[in-house]
C-alpha cells in the first residue's frame, strides 16, 4: 500500500456508500471493492468505518438490507438504496459540488 491515498473528509463516507449502492445492491465487502475501483484505487475504506456507517445509514432509512446468496452461493447481507436514500444522495452530491466549487474558487483567488 505505497500509493498515496486521499483522506476521507468526515461525512463524505455516507455519500460514497450511497453512490456505490445507487448502481445496484451490494454486500459490505463489495462496497469497499467498488469504492476502490470507482476511485481508481485512490480511496480505501476500512471495514471498521464501513459497517458502523452502513448500520447508521440503514437506521436512517436510506438503505435496506437483505440476506441473499452471492454469485458463489454463499449467504451474504446485501444492501440496497431506498427512495429516501436516492434523495439523500442527490442532496449530498449537490452540497459536495458547492463545497468543491467554493474551495476551487478560493484556490484560484490566492
Amino acid at each position: 500500500m505505497t500509493q498515496s491515498k486521499a483522506d476521507l473528509l468526515q461525512g463524505t463516507l455516507d455519500m460514497l456508500i450511497l453512490k456505490t449502492l445507487s448502481l445496484g445492491s451490494l454486500h459490505g465487502y463489495g462496497v469497499i471493492q467498488r469504492i476502490r475501483q470507482m476511485s481508481s484505487e485512490m480511496l480505501d475504506v476500512e471495514q471498521g468505518s464501513l459497517y458502523p456507517a452502513l448500520y447508521r445509514i440503514e437506521q436512517r432509512g436510506w438503505v435496506t438490507s437483505k440476506w441473499e446468496t452471492n454469485e458463489t452461493g454463499r449467504r451474504a447481507k446485501f444492501y440496497s438504496l431506498t427512495r429516501a436514500g436516492r434523495k439523500q444522495l442527490a442532496v449530498e452530491e449537490e452540497s459536495w459540488d458547492r463545497l468543491s466549487l467554493a474551495i476551487a474558487k478560493m484556490r484560484e483567488a490566492s
Binding site: Y29, Y55, R75
Partner: protein, 886 residues
C-alpha cells in the same frame, strides 16, 4: 418513521439474533478479504494475517455497529440497573428507610385513590347519568332546606314541565316503608321504595328478569305489583327464574312479582323492593296535597341546563302556590341537584381531604429521599468526576442517577401496592358503612395505572434534582482542588436547605389539619346527647296488616308489648317512639305556633322535630325531665291536649322570665282543626337527626295522636344485646305475623354517627404522625451531614477558643432558622388548606389560633430535638482531630 421505530424495536427484542447476523456479516467480509489476498498470490497463512491486519479491531468495529444500531441504550440501561442495584445493596440502611417511606406514601395514595375511584369516579349504573337530576323544594320563609312533594303536586310537575325527557317520583327516604314478608319461612322485613311508573325508564335501567312498571300498574285500584332487587331474589327466592308472575305476601296482602333488577342496581340505596306509588292509594289520597313524602328525579332533555330547569320549575311552583295557597306556601323554591352529587355529595369532601393529605405525605417522603440522595451525591462526587473524566457525558450521568431513582421508586411502588392491599382492608374495617359503594373497593386496573404513574412521578420528583446536581462536574476545578472541596457543594447545600424548609412547611400543614379534625372529633364526642346511650336496646317494629289500620289496635298492641317487656327480669323501662335518635338526618317536621302569632309569623318559626311517645319512653332513653312532668296513661283523647318541649325550644320561643309550663302551643297551625296544647313538661335537648346540631323537639302522648310508633326502646340493667331473643319472643307471642328489624343499641347508633369523623381523624392522624417522623429524620439528616462537612471549621473555632455552648448554638441556629422559615410558610399554607375543611369541622374554627400555635410549637420542639443530637456531636469534636479532618 414507523418502520424505523419497528426496526429499533426489533433491535431491542432480538438482540442475540442481530448479534449473530453482525458476526456472520463480518466473518463473510474477512473470508472474502482472505480470498482476495490469495488471488493476488499470497499463501493462505499470509493472506489471513494480512486480512486480519487490514481488518482492524473486530470488537471495536462491532461496538461501533451496535452503537449505530442504537441498542446501546438498552445495554446501558441494564448496566445502570445493575449498578443501581449494587448501590442500593451497598447502603442497606438508606435503601430500607427510603423503600419504607415510599411504600407507605405510595401505598396510602393507592388505597385512598382506590376508594375514591370506586366511590366517586366510577359511573353510576344509569344511562347518561349526567342528565339525571334530583328535585325537591326548600322553604325560604321557614328556612327549611327540604320540603317534600305530594303525589298531586308531582303529577302537576310532570304535566306542566317541558325541560325533562321524563320525570319520576320516589320517597325522600327508603326508611320507614318496610314491609313484612310472610308465607316464606320466618316473617322478615324488607325495605321498599314506592315509585312512579316512570322511575325505571327515567334512570334508563331495565329489569334483569321480567319487566319494570308500566302506567297501568301505577294508578289507584291497580293490581298489586312489585319489582325485587337482585339480593332479595338471590337470598330469599333461591334465584328462581320462574318467579315472575308469582305471588308474594306483603303486609298480609298478595302482590304479583313482575320483575327482578340487575345486581348493580341499588337505588335508592338500601331498597330491596319497589312498588308502584299509586296502586295502594285511593283517589282521595292521590289528590291530598298535605301528604308530602316525595322527591322527583328528572332526566333533562339534551342541552337543557340546570339553570333553565330551575327557572321553569320555580315558575310552575309559583303558579301552584297561587292555585293551592293552603298546601303550597309562597316561600317555596325548587332545589335541583345532579344525581351523582346527590348520591355522593357528603362523602366527597372527606375523601378529597384524605387524598390531599396522602399526596402531601408522599411529597414529604419524596423530599426526604431527595435530601438523602443529594447528600449521597456529594459523597459520590469522586466517582462522578472519574466517570466524567473517562468520557461519560452529562446526559449519561443524569440517566444513570435517574435509573437509580426509578429503581428505588419501583421497589417502593411494588411494596406500596402490596401494602395498599392491606391498607384497603384496614380502611374498609374503619370506614363508615354509609359511604356509597364502599364495600366494592378493590385494586383494579385503573388503580394499578394510578400507582404506576405515581411511582414514576415520585422517581422524577425525588431523583431529578440530585441527578442534575450530582452530574454537574467541572473537571478542571474538581481535579485541581482535590477531593474534599466539591464543585456544586454550595449549590447542593442550598437546595437541601430549601428541601428541609419545604418539608417542615408541608408537615405543619398536615399536622394542623389533623389536629383540627381531632379537636372537632373530640368536640363531637363530648356533645351532650340529651339521652343516656348505655344499656338501651332499640328495634324497628312497624305493625302491618289490615287489623292495625285501626289506631286503637296499634295502641293496644304496643301497650301490651311494653307491659310484657317491663315484666321481664333485667328490664328497667320500655317505651315506644316515632323515630329513634340518630337514625340519620330524617325525622318528622312539625311546624308550630305560640299564642298571639299570626299564620305568617309562624312560618318564620324554626321547625321542630316531632315525636309521638309512650309514658316510659323518657325513662327508657334516659332523657332528663328538666321541668314539669312526664306523660302518663291518663293523657288520653278525652283529657286536655298536652305537649312536652325541649329545653332550647322552651327558652327561645317564650318571652324571657315566663314559665314555659302552662303555656299554649299549637302544632300544625295551618290546619284549622289543630288544638292548642298545654306545655306540661320540658326535657333535655336530644340530638335526634345529627350530632352536630340542636333542633327544637316536641313530644305528644301516643293516645293524643293517630301517628304510629316505629320503634321500641328498652333500658336494661345488664347487656342490652342479651335481651334480643326475649324481644323477638314477646313480639311473636302477641302476634306471630309481626317482625322486628334493625335491632341496635343506642351506643351502636352513637358510634355510627361518629364513624365518619372518626375515620377522617384516624387516617389524618396517621398521615400527620408519619409526616412529622419523616421530617424530623430529614432535619436530623441535613444537620448531621452539615456538621460532618464543617468539622474542619468547627475545629478551628474550638482551637480559637470557642466554648461548647457557642458550637451548640451555631449548629442549632442553623437548623432552627430553616425550621422557622418552614413554619412561617407552613402557617400561611395551612390557612389556605384548612379553609376547604370547614364543612368537616364541628365547633372548631379553621383558623383556630390555639391549634395553630400549639402545633407550630410542637413541631419546633421536635425540630429542636432533631438539631440537638448533631449539635452535641459537634461539641464533642476533638479540635486536633477535627483540624486534620479532610
Amino acid at each position: 418513521m414507523l418502520s424505523r421505530f419497528m426496526k429499533r424495536l426489533r433491535a431491542l427484542m432480538r438482540k442475540d439474533e442481530l448479534e449473530n447476523e453482525l458476526d456472520e456479516e463480518l466473518r463473510y467480509h474477512l473470508e472474502r478479504e482472505i480470498e482476495g489476498n490469495m488471488a493476488s498470490g499470497m499463501s493462505p497463512e499470509e493472506a489471513r494475517r494480512a486480512a486480519r491486519r487490514s481488518f482492524g479491531g473486530v470488537e471495536q468495529s462491532k461496538e461501533n455497529c451496535r452503537d449505530a444500531r442504537q441498542v446501546r441504550l438498552l445495554d446501558e440501561f441494564w448496566q445502570d440497573i445493575r449498578y443501581g442495584v449494587r448501590m442500593l445493596v451497598k447502603n442497606p440502611g438508606f435503601t430500607f428507610v427510603a423503600v419504607l417511606a415510599l411504600a407507605l406514601g405510595i401505598g396510602a395514595n393507592t388505597a385512598i385513590y382506590s376508594v375514591i375511584d370506586t366511590v366517586l369516579l366510577r359511573p353510576l349504573p344509569f344511562a347518561e347519568q349526567e342528565r339525571l337530576v334530583v328535585l325537591w323544594k326548600r322553604d325560604t320563609t321557614a328556612n327549611n332546606p327540604l320540603v317534600e312533594l305530594s303525589v298531586a303536586e308531582f303529577a302537576d310537575w310532570q304535566k306542566q314541565s317541558t325541560v325533562f325527557e321524563s320525570l319520576a317520583a320516589m320517597p325522600t327516604t327508603v326508611y320507614g316503608y318496610g314491609y313484612t314478608v310472610t308465607g316464606r319461612g320466618e316473617p322478615f322485613q324488607v325495605e321498599s321504595a314506592r315509585v312512579s311508573d316512570s322511575f325505571f325508564p327515567t334512570l334508563g335501567v331495565q329489569a334483569n328478569l321480567g319487566r319494570t312498571f308500566i302506567e297501568e300498574d301505577d294508578r289507584p285500584g291497580a293490581g298489586r305489583t312489585v319489582v325485587l332487587n337482585h339480593r332479595f331474589w338471590r337470598d330469599r327466592l333461591n334465584m328462581d327464574s320462574g318467579i315472575i308472575g308469582q305471588q308474594i305476601t306483603l303486609r298480609g296482602e298478595n302482590y304479583t312479582i313482575v320483575g327482578v333488577m340487575p345486581p348493580e342496581f341499588d337505588f335508592p340505596k338500601g331498597a330491596e323492593m319497589w312498588a308502584p306509588l299509586r296502586a295502594s292509594m285511593n283517589q282521595r289520597t292521590v289528590e291530598n296535597r298535605g301528604n308530602v313524602f316525595l322527591q322527583a328525579i328528572g332526566r333533562l332533555k339534551p342541552g337543557v341546563t340546570i339553570e333553565q330547569a330551575n327557572a321553569e320549575m320555580n315558575t310552575i311552583i309559583a303558579q301552584l302556590a297561587r292555585q293551592y295557597p293552603e298546601a303550597n306556601a309562597g316561600g317555596h323554591r325548587v332545589v335541583i341537584t345532579p344525581l351523582a352529587h346527590h348520591i355522593f355529595g357528603d362523602a366527597r369532601p372527606a375523601l378529597h381531604l384524605l387524598l390531599a393529605a396522602s399526596v402531601l405525605l408522599l411529597l414529604i417522603a419524596c423530599i426526604n429521599i431527595a435530601n438523602f440522595l443529594l447528600a449521597r451525591a456529594t459523597v459520590r462526587h469522586k466517582e462522578v468526576t472519574l466517570r466524567a473524566a473517562l468520557g461519560a457525558s452529562r446526559g449519561r450521568l443524569v440517566r444513570q442517577f435517574l435509573t437509580e431513582s426509578v429503581l428505588l421508586a419501583a421497589i417502593g411502588g411494588t411494596c406500596g401496592l402490596l401494602l395498599a392491599h392491606w391498607m384497603i382492608k384496614l380502611l374498609l374495617y374503619f370506614a363508615p358503612a354509609d359511604i356509597p359503594r364502599i364495600e366494592m373497593v378493590s385494586i383494579d386496573v385503573s388503580v394499578m395505572t394510578f400507582t404506576c404513574v405515581v411511582t414514576l412521578l415520585t422517581a422524577v420528583m425525588f431523583g431529578l434534582a440530585p441527578a442534575l446536581t450530582a452530574s454537574k462536574v467541572d473537571l478542571n476545578e474538581s481535579l485541581k482542588e482535590g477531593s474534599t472541596k466539591v464543585a456544586g457543594a454550595r449549590h447542593s447545600h442550598r437546595l437541601r436547605s430549601w428541601l428541609v424548609i419545604a418539608e417542615v412547611a408541608v408537615t405543619l400543614v398536615l399536622l394542623i389539619s389533623a389536629s383540627l379534625v381531632v379537636r372537632s372529633f373530640l368536640n363531637l364526642k363530648q356533645v351532650p346527647l340529651g339521652f343516656d346511650p348505655r344499656n338501651v336496646l332499640t328495634a324497628q317494629l312497624s305493625l302491618q296488616g289490615q287489623k292495625y289500620r285501626d289506631v286503637r289496635e296499634r295502641r293496644d298492641f304496643f301497650k301490651r308489648l311494653l307491659e310484657r317487656l317491663e315484666a321481664q327480669p333485667g328490664v328497667i323501662a320500655a317505651g315506644a317512639v316515632l323515630i329513634r335518635p340518630l337514625e340519620g338526618t330524617i325525622g318528622w317536621d312539625m311546624p308550630f305556633a305560640t299564642e298571639g302569632q299570626t299564620l305568617d309569623e309562624t312560618k318564620r318559626n324554626a321547625v321542630p322535630n316531632y315525636e309521638v311517645i309512650t309514658p316510659h319512653y323518657f325513662r327508657a332513653m334516659g332523657i332528663q325531665i328538666v321541668k314539669g312532668r312526664d306523660f302518663t296513661e291518663e293523657d288520653t283523647e278525652q283529657t286536655p291536649e298536652v305537649v312536652i318541649i325541649s329545653e332550647t325550644m322552651a327558652r327561645r320561643i317564650f318571652k324571657p322570665d315566663t314559665d314555659p309550663l302552662g303555656q299554649q302551643v299549637k302544632l300544625e297551625p295551618t290546619d284549622s282543626e289543630s288544638p292548642w296544647r298545654t306545655v306540661v313538661g320540658v326535657v333535655s335537648d336530644v340530638r335526634y337527626r345529627e350530632l352536630s346540631s340542636v333542633r327544637y323537639d316536641v313530644y305528644v302522648p301516643y293516645r293524643q295522636s293517630t301517628v304510629t310508633f316505629r320503634y321500641v326502646t328498652i333500658r336494661t340493667a345488664t347487656d342490652p344485646l342479651a335481651l334480643i331473643p326475649t324481644l323477638r319472643r314477646e313480639v311473636s307471642a302477641l302476634d306471630e305475623t309481626q317482625a322486628v328489624a334493625d335491632v341496635r343499641t343506642m351506643e351502636q347508633l352513637v358510634a355510627r354517627s361518629l364513624a365518619r369523623p372518626r375515620f377522617s381523624m384516624l387516617l389524618l392522624g396517621f398521615f400527620a404522625f408519619f409526616a412529622a417522623a419523616l421530617s424530623s429524620v430529614g432535619i436530623y439528616g441535613i444537620l448531621s451531614y452539615s456538621v460532618m462537612q464543617r468539622t474542619n471549621e468547627i475545629g478551628i473555632r474550638v482551637a480559637l477558643g470557642a466554648q461548647r455552648s457557642d458550637i451548640l448554638k451555631l449548629v442549632i441556629r442553623q437548623g432552627m432558622v430553616l425550621t422557622a422559615i418552614g413554619i412561617v410558610i407552613g402557617l400561611s399554607a395551612s390557612l389556605a388548606f384548612t379553609r376547604v375543611m370547614s364543612s368537616l369541622l364541628y365547633n372548631v374554627s379553621v383558623t383556630d389560633p390555639v391549634t395553630f400555635v400549639a402545633v407550630a410549637a410542637l413541631l419546633t420542639v421536635v425540630a429542636l430535638l432533631a438539631c440537638y443530637i448533631p449539635a452535641r456531636r459537634a461539641t464533642k469534636l476533638d479540635p486536633l482531630l477535627a483540624l486534620k479532618h479532610e
